[in-house]
């Protein structure tokens, strides 16, 4: 098993389009790293550069301490699972899984042993003689995974492997891949646009946007300490609420939204970091779970009451999402499902002022 290190890796396409810029990622041995970001952020390009399917325009790529910029994919000792499975349609499941081993001139007994092992782990034993077209989506995906694991490669690469599956199967395969990671103790790099997949699977998450790495951290750190507004908005579901406003200082700091519909007097804890922003504009962010229903929490000095008009109410079973607007900005609050408020009615809610995030208007970087 092996480490993967990207040093200042950049990919520029013909015509000057930069797909990935100055990427620095260190994937430790046996680590599960997830590359996540919206489409077009360069995550797949980065993965394909690691696989050797895209040339690296500049920078260095190391697998197992060996520079592999110019090594062909077959000599990098990696395996990849593709979004569309990429199974060979003219071969049976067995032949699909054995293909890589045959090319590497493994003897027949060894091939059979490894394929049977993989088929057992992945519940594919009854299907070994079938062609891919006779399999369901989930089974095909498992064959693609099986084809990767029989090779026992140094690094596993996954390119949005679950996005073609239905929601239920996706959750099931997600846990199966996580289990596989624990079982194989292999280095895995996983690309997805789904933040839930990223949060639940990754030891470490790399968040990318427009070809640039925004933050590399553990799932919880990303959630609690995002480095900028993009990361704050991308991680968490429903995503963080944002509203622009100014800070006023008369005694203690007060945040006032642009149109004045939201006034929050801030906790002393923020003063050090926010003093220099007095009378300046900035973004306030608050997660949906930090806006409460007064009926479900006991009062606290940190809470500020706000009256809103509920626009949409979405009961999820164990919780309810409340949608409302302040200053024209859409807000969502996530409250426990006790009683369902009616859409179109006025409601009093509580902002937890000890859990606010602030971002610089120009740079969008986190202030606190």
């Amino acid at each position: 098993m092996a480490e993967v290190i990207l040093k200042n890796v950049t990919k520029v396409y013909e015509g000057g389009n930069i797909a990935a810029k100055d990427i620095n990622i260190e994937v430790k041995d046996k680590e599960f790293v997830v590359l996540v970001g919206p489409s077009g952020c360069g995550k797949s390009t980065t993965l394909r550069m690691i696989a050797g399917l895209e040339e690296i325009s500049s920078g260095d790529l190391f697998i197992d301490n060996k520079k592999v910029n110019d090594v062909s994919p077959k000599d990098r000792d990696i395996a990849m699972v593709f979004q569309n499975y990429a199974l060979y349609p003219h071969m049976t499941v067995y032949e699909n899984m054995a293909f890589g081993l045959k090319l590497r001139k493994f003897d027949k007994a060894e091939i059979k042993k490894r394929v049977s092992e993989a088929a057992k782990i992945l519940d594919l034993e009854p299907y070994l003689e079938r062609k891919p077209k006779a399999l369901s989506g989930g089974q095909r995906q498992r064959v693609a995974v099986g084809r990767a694991i029989v090779r026992k490669p140094k690094v596993f690469l996954f390119d949005e492997p679950l996005s073609n599956l239905d929601a239920k199967l996706r959750v099931q395969m997600r846990t199966e891949i996580s289990k596989l990671h624990q079982r194989l103790e292999a280095t895995m790099i996983y690309v997805t646009h789904d933040q839930t997949e990223a949060m639940t699977m990754g030891d470490k998450i790399v968040i990318m946007k427009d070809g640039v790495v925004n933050q590399i951290d553990t799932p919880l750190n990303l959630y609690n300490y995002p480095t900028n507004k993009f990361v704050a908005g991308f991680i968490g579901s429903p995503s963080m609420n944002f509203i622009e406003g100014t800070l006023a200082k008369n005694g203690n700091l007060t945040f006032k939204s642009k149109k004045g519909n939201l006034n929050l007097s801030l906790n002393k804890n923020y003063e050090n970091k926010l003093n220099s922003y007095a009378n300046k504009t900035l973004w306030l962010g608050i997660r949906p779970e930090d806006i409460y229903d007064p009926n479900t929490v006991s009062p606290s000095a940190n809470f500020t009451k706000v009256n809103v008009n509920l626009e949409v109410v979405e009961p999820m079973g164990n919780e309810i999402f409340l949608y409302f607007s302040i200053d024209g900005e859409q807000f969502v609050s996530r409250i426990p499902a006790r009683e369902k408020p009616e859409a179109g009615t006025a409601k009093e809610i509580l902002f937890d002022t000890s859990k606010l995030h602030f971002f610089d208007t120009d740079t969008e970087k986190t202030i606190v």
């Binding site: 696989a51 050797g52 399917l53 062909s72 994919p73 077959k74 990696i78 395996a79 990849m80 593709f82 979004q83 569309n84 990429a86 060979y88 349609p89 003219h90 293909f99 890589g100 090319l103 590497r104 084809r147 090779r151």
Partner: protein, 277 residues
């Protein structure tokens, strides 16, 4: 409802029968002529098996005429043209489908442009070129001309088919341990079988039944291909219609067999190549 269905079926069958008769009539006629005795060649009788039917013409064809030599010549030429066509079209089509290189667009348009000229217009330049290359009156000369005529269509149709095969299959093969060449012949080529069959048939047909070019290029009677040989039954004063008809039927047999064997591929190939995999 049932009555309506019956009527629809009835009309469909009538339609199919009429067109089958139209398609089969000339062939039956040729067969009839081939088994008529010598003195009744131009008879106006409509009976399919004529009075005094005989296989004399067939025996004559195989024993007293160089028919087998012509079959041999045609077979060699068609075989080489087919192999060349499949080998070059499968690789050229792949390059045009998968790789980016300078002149790609121009070469594709160039190939297409050659299809716009009627074959007869190309006769003279091809003739002059073959003379200059001293390839006139040789297998090689005619093979080059046939291949050149068949290739543009074949290359385009192979390219079109490769375009429907996802890139990720080759990428996956390369990660599995294939070189670029291996991923082509182990993965892509087997998947392109329907298109290869069409290419092979098209190349074969181009060479097997072609007359005009052969008449220009081949002058030595020992090199005659089937169409030229058949034409030699026709002289200034008489035409040996019986022999002609017998030969025509024999010539069409390999083509019919080929089509029957490959028909499974042909139908799916034709639709797959044109629409989408």
């Amino acid at each position: 409802m049932n009555k309506k269905k019956f009527l629809a079926n009835f009309l469909t069958y009538i339609f199919l029968i009429v067109f089958t008769v139209i398609a089969l009539y000339p062939i039956i006629n040729v067969f009839t002529i081939s088994i008529r005795p010598d003195d009744r060649l131009l008879s106006t009788s409509l009976s399919i098996i004529p009075e005094g039917a005989t296989f004399k013409q067939y025996i004559e064809l195989f024993t007293n005429r160089p028919f087998l030599l012509w079959v041999w010549n045609s077979a060699i030429v068609s075989f080489v043209v087919t192999v060349t066509g499949v080998a070059l079209a499968s690789t050229a089509g792949y390059a045009l489908s998968r790789f980016q290189f300078i002149g790609k667009q121009v070469s594709m348009l160039g190939l297409l442009t050659t299809q716009m000229f009627p074959a007869t217009m190309l006769l003279l330049p091809m003739y002059i070129m073959l003379i200059k290359l001293q390839l006139i009156n040789s297998y090689l000369g005619i093979i080059i001309v046939y291949s050149a005529t068949a290739l543009p269509f074949c290359v385009w149709q192979m390219k079109g088919y490769y375009d429907t095969i996802p890139f990720s299959l080759e990428e996956s093969a390369r990660i599995d341990g294939c070189t670029k060449w291996q991923s082509f012949y182990k993965i892509i080529l087997p998947l392109a079988a329907p298109a290869l069959v069409i290419t092979a048939l098209f190349s074969f047909m181009t060479a097997w039944s072609e007359y005009i070019v052969a008449a220009q290029v081949l002058q030595d009677t020992d090199l005659y291909t089937l169409p030229l040989g058949l034409k030699s039954f026709q002289s200034n004063l008489t035409t040996e219609w019986g022999l002609y008809a017998a030969a025509a039927l024999v010539v069409s047999i390999p083509v019919v067999i080929l089509f029957i064997i490959l028909s499974k591929w042909l139908v799916s190939g034709l639709t797959l190549g044109s629409v989408k995999g």
